[in-house]
């Protein structure tokens, strides 16, 4: 029979043994090392498709042949599942030793002390652009090292423009000229082809516009750095294009998801990150796509910057700090790793790696684009605030409601500001 005292003893014993077990799990001193005969094993995890899995496998094999005292256990999932898994592991204290990371999750995990301060271990960052490294740092601690960079650009399909008799843009244009370009494409496209998507719904494009006007998106203490009037002015940039063939209608964009409008051959241009090139080419089946800089009303200030397209981080609880640091150093700096990945992670951030890699075809287009905008580049943004992903999504949603005509300009600005301020208060 089940008496209460026995039950309580069982529960107490169970709790005690769980505590004991967890103590065992954590009783590790910093930096165990291995030897060639007795190698240590570190876990490395990344998100991506089978192509990236194949390339990473090659990189790991190379690392192991150069470092016989370390074995690397690779593991991968898709992007959405990746963050579900990390959240569970972080709560359970079982994050892998080294991880591929995304900028928008860096502050969240860094602030909760889940990530290792990489300035305490040996990773060579001499070959990195000094304006890029701060994007991996939070409050003076380095949590992430960028593997590669991406930049914003306007994509266009030269073959489609030629067939309609529209001149190719040269990338030195104002917003007015850009709008006129989209309208011309839309009118000649005859309903089959639109000019582009409404770029005012893209948070990063707004960020660039703010930079062009010398406004900070977020203040140093994590508040909004712009006013409602700035936002209204921005959303008004394409006001006269809404409902014309210049912009693909919002409902069409929704129908086409998960493919982009450009990937579905419904628009002739798109404003987004330059490392989407391979995906757009694959989705649309186009022979060639070209990249030009974003428009700006100030020709000397394009507001452009390089953003880490992904970073390398280590778990704060890793038992093998030295091995983890060596692996990160290898992945970001080694020229042979650059040869393996080319631009599939973005353009290599480290100069050693970039110079050691030969780029051809599509890869070369992206690298050349980033070279061509070099003189306009400003500091990379800080790691975004916690909950940035939500903010970015609501920016898109509110602006599409504006597009549908469900919200007025004032209503849209109010709605977004309220959401943003609530979110910032919540995470402060």
């Amino acid at each position: 029979m089940f008496d209460r005292r026995k039950f309580l003893t069982t529960v107490a014993l169970g709790t005690a043994s769980a505590a004991f077990l967890s103590a065992c799990g954590q009783s590790s001193s910093a930096g165990q090392t291995g030897s060639a005969e007795n190698p240590v094993t570190i876990n490395y995890t990344w998100w991506g498709n089978d192509d990236r899995a194949e390339r990473t496998r090659k990189a790991i094999a190379l690392f192991e042949s150069k470092n016989p005292d370390v074995k690397v256990n690779g593991n991968f999932t898709d992007f959405a599942g990746y963050w579900q898994k990390r959240a569970t592991e972080a709560a359970g204290g079982g994050l892998p030793d080294v991880m591929q990371w995304d900028l928008s999750y860096l502050r969240d995990y860094g602030q909760r002390n889940q990530l290792l301060d990489l300035s305490t271990v040996k990773i060579n960052t001499d070959a990195f652009d000094k304006s890029l490294l701060p994007s991996g740092q939070i409050r003076g601690k380095t949590y992430g090292i960028p593997t590669s960079t991406n930049a914003f650009a306007v994509y266009y399909d030269p073959a489609k423009l030629q067939s309609m008799g529209v001149a190719e843009p040269d990338g030195q244009w104002t917003y007015k000229e850009f709008n006129a370009f989209m309208l011309e494409v839309g009118q000649k496209g005859n309903g089959a082809l639109y000019g582009g998507t409404d770029y005012t719904g893209v948070w990063w494009m707004y960020n660039i516009w703010l930079r062009q006007n010398n406004i900070q998106a977020f203040t140093d203490d994590g508040k909004l750095g712009f006013t409602k009037d700035d936002l209204k002015k921005w959303w008004n940039t394409t006001a006269e294009l809404r409902g014309t063939p210049a912009l693909v209608p919002e409902e069409r964009v929704t129908q086409l998801a998960p493919k982009s409008a450009m990937g579905s051959n419904v628009t002739a241009s798109e404003v987004t990150w330059d490392n989407f090139m391979a995906g757009y080419l694959g989705d649309s089946g186009a022979k060639e796509l070209k990249l030009v800089p974003v428009p700006s009303d100030d020709p000397d200030n394009l507001g452009l910057f390089l953003k880490p397209s992904m970073l390398m981080v280590a778990s704060a609880k890793t038992k093998y700090k030295d091995a983890a640091a060596r692996f990160i150093d290898f992945m970001v700096n080694d020229p042979e790793v650059g040869q393996i990945f080319k631009t599939s992670r973005g353009v290599p951030a480290s100069k050693t790696q970039r110079d050691g890699t030969t780029f051809e075809g599509t890869d070369k287009l992206v690298v050349d684009y980033e070279k061509s905008i070099e003189k306009y580049l400003k500091d990379a943004p800080e790691p975004p605030i916690v909950g940035f992903g939500t903010l970015e999504a609501s920016f898109k949603r509110v602006s599409s409601e504006l597009n549908y005509g469900k919200l007025t300009l004032d209503g849209a600005a109010d709605a977004w500001f309220k959401e943003a301020e609530d979110l910032i208060k919540q995470n402060a």
């Binding site: 029979m1 089940f2 769980a18 077990l21 967890s22 799990g25 876990n43 995890t45 998100w47 991506g48 498709n49 089978d50 192509d51 990236r52 899995a53 194949e54 990473t56 496998r57 256990n73 690779g74 593991n75 991968f76 999932t77 898709d78 992007f79 959405a80 599942g81 579900q84 898994k85 569970t88 592991e89 709560a91 359970g92 204290g93 079982g94 892998p96 086409l256 998960p258 493919k259 990937g263 579905s264 051959n265 419904v266 391979a278 995906g279 080419l281 694959g282 989705d283 649309s284 089946g285 599939s344």
Partner: protein
């Protein structure tokens, strides 16, 4: 079966209908025919609607990547090819697709065996043995049905992590062998309660113990419930994504649902064609399993309706 299916009866008049001589018999066959036509048209339309996604999927698996989704609505492509199946069978990151199939099969068969064994035994205890606290434990078991899975994810993960069982199939299967799926236990308890108690009383008089009664009397009578349970637990395990995602770390141990997602990557390039081809392949075992057992499922449901 061919009459009186749709309530729509707009009594359409034939354009060349003969003069209105009243003839109840001929009119009623005409009306019958029209009703039957309407019924069949509606039924066919519904079938087309239900089957369309499956047809779309199969047709898309033969199309090149750039013609799938987006602005392409055509079911048929002139660039018909088996390339997607070739890519899908190539495997991912050095792990062959057959490995994913084998893993899925191990998990699904393990789940079926575990659930059928453990749920039927627990159900027997709840339905036939009058132990103290039975009502309370039964209530507690039903209460776990109300507990959303997401609430227990993290505590469960911590337990398995501390026991060093992450990256094994144990966390995914142990619950099945311990009757943790309250739904199936409940299903079987209800079924057993419907079986006449006289049968096991007779067995007891003949000297049978619980093991004998369970094995020789109950199990054979419960066949329909066991089959429903097998089918459901097979399909659920075959489709489970979150469990394997959280507990498995080595790609060599991944089941199909994890592998499927690896063809689509929003941050890089997506191979929709290969993903869809693999979905088609992943569907086949479930389809076969269902076709083999479907007559039992119907039998199972109909017997469950007949109490006592």
């Amino acid at each position: 079966m061919t009459t009186m299916a749709t309530p729509t009866q707009p009594q359409p008049t034939k354009p060349n209908a003969p003069a209105p001589v009243y003839n109840p018999k001929s009119e009623s066959t005409a009306v019958k025919r029209i009703k039957s036509t309407i019924f069949h048209v509606v039924a066919l339309a519904l079938v087309a609607m239900v089957l369309y996604p499956a047809i779309w999927m199969i047709s898309a698996s033969f199309k090149p990547n750039s013609e799938i989704g987006g602005a392409n609505n055509a079911l048929w492509s002139n660039n018909f090819s088996f390339d997607n199946f070739v890519t899908a069978m190539d495997g991912i990151g050095g792990v062959s697709t057959l490995t994913f199939f084998t893993n899925s099969l191990i998990l699904a068969v393990g789940a079926v065996v575990g659930t059928v064994l453990s749920a039927s035994i627990s159900a027997y205890a709840f339905a036939r043995i009058n132990f103290p606290g039975r009502g309370l434990f039964f209530g507690m078991m039903i209460a776990t049905l109300l507990l959303p899975f997401h609430v227990v994810i993290i505590p469960q993960y911590i337990v398995f992590q501390q026991l060093g069982l992450v990256d094994t199939y144990v966390p995914l299967l142990i619950g099945k062998f311990l009757a943790a799926d309250a739904f199936f236990v409940f299903l079987m308890v209800q079924f057993m309660r419907g079986l006449p108690a006289e049968l096991d009383e007779a067995a007891r008089i003949d000297g049978a113990g619980h093991v004998r009664i369970f094995g020789s009397i109950m199990l054979p009578l419960m066949k329909p419930a066991l089959i429903s349970t097998s089918i459901f637990s097979f399909i659920w395990s075959w489709n489970d994504f979150l469990g394997p995602l959280l507990y498995l770390n080595t790609p060599e141990k991944y089941p199909l649902p994890l592998a499927l997602r690896l063809f689509v990557d929003q941050t890089q390039s997506s191979d929709y064609g290969a993903m869809i081809a693999m979905s088609v392949l992943a569907l086949l075992p479930v389809l076969v399993f269902f076709l083999v057992f479907q007559r039992y499922i119907v039998e199972g449901v109909s017997t469950q309706g007949l109490k006592g």
